[in-house]
């Protein structure tokens, strides 16, 4: 067969070469057309399908427990209980007896009815269960059709999975070790398959449309996830070309992985701390392997969002404990609740504001509704015995606010001591520098705080007075703005004068281009998304602090962000081999 190309949306990068495995479960619409036999016949078909489906589920549960664990097996166990539920299967039998319809139609009718009940429920968790109900229906229909369905669990060699669509309950059956990539007809960047592919680090090309039609089971495929191209039955020349690219990609990955174990150090031996930003304790898993020495920012907002009510002290304690333990004694800097009216938190009843970013949010909200802060601080202090936690307050605009927040922390410490509950007495407390007033007052703050963490994302917005989401003025948002760089210098110098440290958790920290400048300014800690760790570490290891310090001096003598950027690029070209 001649080589041909399929184009789709590349949602996850990577080049893979492998055989296609077609996953095309029978569709309900195809089966509804079949005429019904008499009721007795349909009932016995249905019964057989149910037995087979139960057997299938048992087998899958056994496999899933081994490969994916308790939680994933739970979905399948749930499906099994639905199938055994007294209101489910008997309802289908009743449908057949009363209306003389086919087994397929009975399954469809009952599944629709019950799924609709779940879809009307108030919580998202329950609404999602509708998908589980439908999955049971699909499984029954597949059995009725004679076994062309769910055989994803049969995959036992490396393949590229080709399908119309993949649902969470499809992918939960997969042995991830055997999947090289996904190619689907529908779906896009935010679909479940995209997220899964990204977390597994394998390519996915979705939304390929009818292009996937001609692919046969076993066809050789080349996937280029980054370009969104899939080559079907490639000829020899194409194959060689992609093999070469794949080799180079693997080599890159191996080199970067080697860096993970080495501490971040400049060429002239100057040590800095590289940390990661996380939003959930689960993200802390595996960070040490990725080269993070700490968590520089644990955004606690996630605990408060997607919920019907306030997360209580126990819930928060569990999360902070999990993060502390995952980092095995390495620091975790927890930022107290940093949220405002722009996010949906119905249980807080926040006012709708004209200017949410200048309004009632973050520390202002927490100081006004003290219970919020007290609960969070109690949970953090209690969890502090499980690792090395640090606390930082967001959106501090003046010394008074800091002292008030610190006062509440001290109060909570006394409370816990009275209750006989232990916590880390040496727990460090610092503030985020995101508001210019705090940056300018850094020399005063430095006497009282243990550290600063610069949140460049908001610092730039407030300093240059620009909303980076506003297309018309977004061009003004640039952390290389000389004013911002001066503020960085003020903050870092102030901290060092008092024997304290300064970290950075905004996106500037994850930009390899900025690294030499930040090194030259004396930044002590970089915190970024885990994905940027290796790149930044590589840059730092190639720099020597001497020349970075001179670079910073030159930059501080510049007038525009463009000049600064050019200087950084020239510097990088000279010193770095990889940018």
């Amino acid at each position: 067969m001649a080589e041909r190309l399929i184009h789709g949306i590349g949602v996850s990068e990577g080049i893979r070469i492998g055989k296609a495995f077609l996953y095309m479960p029978a569709k309900p619409e195809q089966q509804q057309a079949a005429p019904a036999g008499d009721a007795a016949h349909e009932l016995s078909r249905l019964r057989a399908a149910k037995e087979q489906a139960l057997g299938e589920l048992d087998e899958l549960i056994g496999k899933t427990l081994q490969t994916l664990g308790e939680e994933k097996a739970g979905i399948l166990k749930g499906q099994k209980s639905f199938l055994n539920d007294p209101t489910f299967y008997p309802a289908m039998e009743q449908q057949i007896s009363q209306t003389g319809c086919s087994a397929e139609q009975a399954v469809d009718a009952v599944v629709q009815r019950i799924a609709a009940v779940f879809e009307a429920m108030p919580t998202e968790y329950l609404r999602e269960r509708a998908a589980d109900v439908r999955d049971v229906g699909k499984r029954l229909l597949a059995r009725l059709a004679g076994g062309t369905g769910s055989n994803l669990s049969d995959i036992e060699e490396e393949v590229i999975l080709v399908a119309d669509d993949l649902t969470p309950s499809d992918t939960v059956q997969l042995d991830k070790r055997f999947i090289l990539g996904f190619v689907t007809r529908t779906g896009g960047k935010t679909s479940h398959t995209a997220i899964l592919a990204n977390s597994l680090g394998i390519p996915a090309i979705l939304g390929s449309g009818d292009g996937i039609g001609g692919i046969q089971n076993g066809d050789l495929l080349i996937m280029d996830g980054g370009a969104g191209i899939c080559v079907v039955s490639p000829d020899e020349a194409t194959l060689q070309q992609y093999r070469g690219r794949m080799e180079r990609e693997n080599e890159e990955r191996r080199k970067l992985a080697a860096f993970a174990g080495i501490p971040a150090k400049t060429r002239d031996g100057f040590r800095v701390e590289l940390a990661a930003n996380i939003g959930t304790p689960a993200e802390a898993q595996g960070l040490l392997e990725k080269g993070a020495e700490a968590v520089g920012l644990y955004r606690t907002e996630f605990l408060f969002m997607s919920r019907e009510q306030m997360p209580d002290e126990e819930t928060q304690y569990a999360a902070y404990k999990k993060a502390a333990e995952a980092m095995q004694g390495k620091p975790v800097v927890i930022r107290t609740l940093d949220i405002g009216g722009d996010k949906e938190l119905p249980y807080l009843e926040l006012p709708k504001e004209m200017n949410p970013f200048l309004g009632y949010r973050a520390i202002r909200l927490c100081l006004d509704r003290k219970e919020l802060l007290v609960t969070q601080l109690r949970a953090i202090l209690r969890a502090s015995v499980h690792g090395k936690l640090k606390i930082m307050f967001p959106m501090i605009s003046g010394i008074g606010e800091w002292r008030q927040a610190k006062g509440i922390l001290d109060e909570v410490r006394r409370q816990l001591t009275d209750e006989g509950i232990r916590f880390d007495p040496g727990l460090e407390t610092g503030i985020m520098i995101e508001i210019p007033s705090a940056a300018l007052l850094a020399p005063r703050f430095a006497k009282e705080v243990d550290f600063f963490s610069i949140g460049t994302n908001d610092l730039v917005q407030y300093t240059v007075a620009v909303d980076r989401m506003n297309e018309k003025v977004a061009y003004l948002y640039d952390y290389f703005h000389p004013a911002v760089i001066r503020l960085l210098k003020i903050v870092i110098d102030a901290s060092h004068e008092h024997g304290k440290w300064t970290g950075m958790c905004g996106s500037m920290a994850g930009d390899p281009l900025a690294a030499p400048l930040l090194l030259g300014l004396g930044l002590d800690e970089w915190s970024m998304s885990a994905a940027s760790l290796q790149k930044v570490k590589r840059i730092i290891s190639q720099m020597d602090r001497e020349s970075c310090t001179r670079l910073a001096e030159r930059v501080l003598d510049m007038d525009t962000p463009e000049e600064v950027r050019q200087a950084l690029q020239a510097f990088a070209a000279e010193y770095a081999k990889n940018l």
Partner: protein
Amino acid sequence: MVSRQVTIQNRTGFHIRPAQLFVDKAGSFEALIKVRKDEVEVDGKSILGLMTLGLEQGTTIEIRAEGPDEQQAVESLIELVESKFGEE
């Protein structure tokens, strides 16, 4: 006929796991078991029924059993709910 009330205490309410534990236990008894929340009553052995009741932390339900082992059934189910289904 035995009937008693109990309040749901575990944080996640009747998510799939607690619901499953409940119906597994309920299913082990001969008695007919019903669970009522406000005006709605469902079969205590039906996981679908229980889940669609939308039982969350703080909800009070009435467990009713009728049959030879009705006493053990109710006591056993109350204990399961009060033990927070082994969570936390």
